[in-house]
């Protein structure tokens, strides 16, 4: 298995399938009275979060603990060494000196995990870097879609919203394209870089004509801050033109899915009703995140690849 997971570029269809299949097997642990496996006993995983994130950090923390690994949480908040001026590199070296096996890193600067991987011997897992990528989110999204549709090949997925600033969008476009799905990016031109066509996706500025045909409508969070950057006139207008409300949802097929990486801005990109409707698998995404992250930790930390027996199947 790869040493670092920095970008979906590193995973071909076989690797993605292996990760998802393994997640499937590991999911059963959640149903047991003792929700633990001894597999990563003695390993240490550090959650290095420079950006606040409750759900992703907890998801990784639980995933590691379920596999019996030890977990350290490092949040770069006002009381941390970072507030006192410790540099990213110094923090990395400190963790290395403490002997961590893996660093799960979330950072506001795109490329920070790449830079980190050059400084440490531990495995680096990108939990979200700036606007660049969020590979584990894309993997859990693929898992969730596969659960319902069995085969990702040929599926039509619309990703709606602020693609420009979205690491979730970039990772998902790559992952879906690798698995043979077709992606359309939808939103105002100010939020969709025209270069996105080179990622293998199509671009549309109107949502309504697409709704009847798509298998998945994936909504991205539209932040308050973007309005002040003059990327669109107002959140109200955004919601009117691209928000998935009840009326729009009714245009979708009954078996089509509504997804969102969270946290949601109800009333903007998605209405409260839609988020709780039968088509919505938003909560499944969250629970699947745990299994997918367990799968990654197992595959990446579960042993020394040079001696592994079944590694031919897993090599990328």
């Amino acid at each position: 298995m790869i040493k670092h997971l920095l970008s979906m570029d590193q995973l071909d269809a076989d690797a993605i399938t292996t990760i998802l299949d393994t997640a499937e097997s590991l999911r059963q642990v959640t149903d047991r009275p003792i929700k633990k496996l001894p597999t990563l006993r003695g390993r240490t995983v550090c959650n290095l979060f420079y950006e606040a994130s409750t759900r992703t950090r907890i998801s990784f923390e639980l995933a590691a603990k379920r596999l019996s690994a030890d977990v350290i949480n490092f949040s770069a908040d006002s009381k941390s060494s970072v507030a006192k001026g410790e540099s990213f590199k110094d923090t990395a070296w400190t963790l290395e000196a403490m002997g961590v096996d893996a660093i799960v890193v979330r950072h506001g600067s795109s490329g920070a995990p790449h830079q980190l991987s050059r400084w440490v011997k531990a495995s680096v897992i990108n939990a979200g870097d700036g606007s660049h990528e969020h590979p584990t989110q894309a993997l859990l999204d693929l898992f969730s879609i596969r659960e319902r549709f069995k085969d990702l090949e040929g599926l039509k997925v619309a990703i709606v919203g602020d693609v420009l600033h979205s690491r979730v969008a970039r990772s998902n476009v790559k992952g879906l394209a690798t698995m043979g799905a077709h992606v359309t990016l939808v939103g105002p031109p100010t939020l969709i870089p025209k270069e996105a066509e080179s990622w293998g996706a199509s671009i549309e500025y109107e949502l309504d004509p697409l709704l009847a045909d798509i298998d998945v409508c994936y909504l991205l969070r539209v932040q308050q801050e973007r309005q002040s950057e003059q990327l669109f006139p107002s959140l109200r207008e955004y919601a009117a033109l691209w928000g998935l409300d009840d009326r729009r949802m009714q245009l979708m097929r009954p078996d089509a899915l509504v997804m969102h990486p969270g946290p949601m801005n109800r009333g903007v990109e998605i209405s409260a009703n839609v988020s709780e409707s039968a088509r919505s698998i938003i909560l499944d995404q969250v629970s699947n995140g745990l299994a997918v992250r367990m799968s990654l930790l197992y595959l990446m930390l579960g042993g020394h690849s040079e001696e592994g027996q079944a590694l031919e199947e897993l090599a990328v």
Partner: protein, 191 residues
Amino acid sequence: MRPAGRRAEPPGEFVVKARVMEPDDVRRALTRIAHEIVEHNKGTDDLVIVGIRTRGAPLADRIAAAIASFEGVDLPSGALDVTLYRDDVALKGPRRLEATTVPADIDGRVVIVVDDVLFTGRTIRAAFDALLDMGRPRAIRLAVLVDRGHREFPIRADHVGKNLPTAADEIVKVHVEELDGEDAVLIGEYR
């Protein structure tokens, strides 16, 4: 630590030195084991049959089917992948996982663990840990088709198809119809 003589990666091809059980031998052994299980348990109450992947699973299915045919009772049965509990995970690296389908409720039950070959005992140790994480059986008993000795842990089988003394560096392979097209037990080596 690997047992002495156990190679990490088989070089070359497997060459058969002897066939110690033929299909009829296997069939008779499994039938006898099925009867022994019921006899020891004084009936079929609370029995659960769990086969260890990969080849213990079809053997467990056959034992469960045999018990169903002569006792008229369909026992809960399933399969267990012990990969995540193995003590050599760190050495050998992540392997492909297969489904674990152990019946949901094993609390207070008598779990019969079925495997093809009992050798060092490490696999069975991993199976105990897995089962105990799933529930609290009243008892665990072990049924194996072949016991080839060289135990590294104090584990013994309650029901044995064939006792097979072997040299530590010999390889014992069990073939099952469901996966290999025939039932047989072979001794050989890699050349």
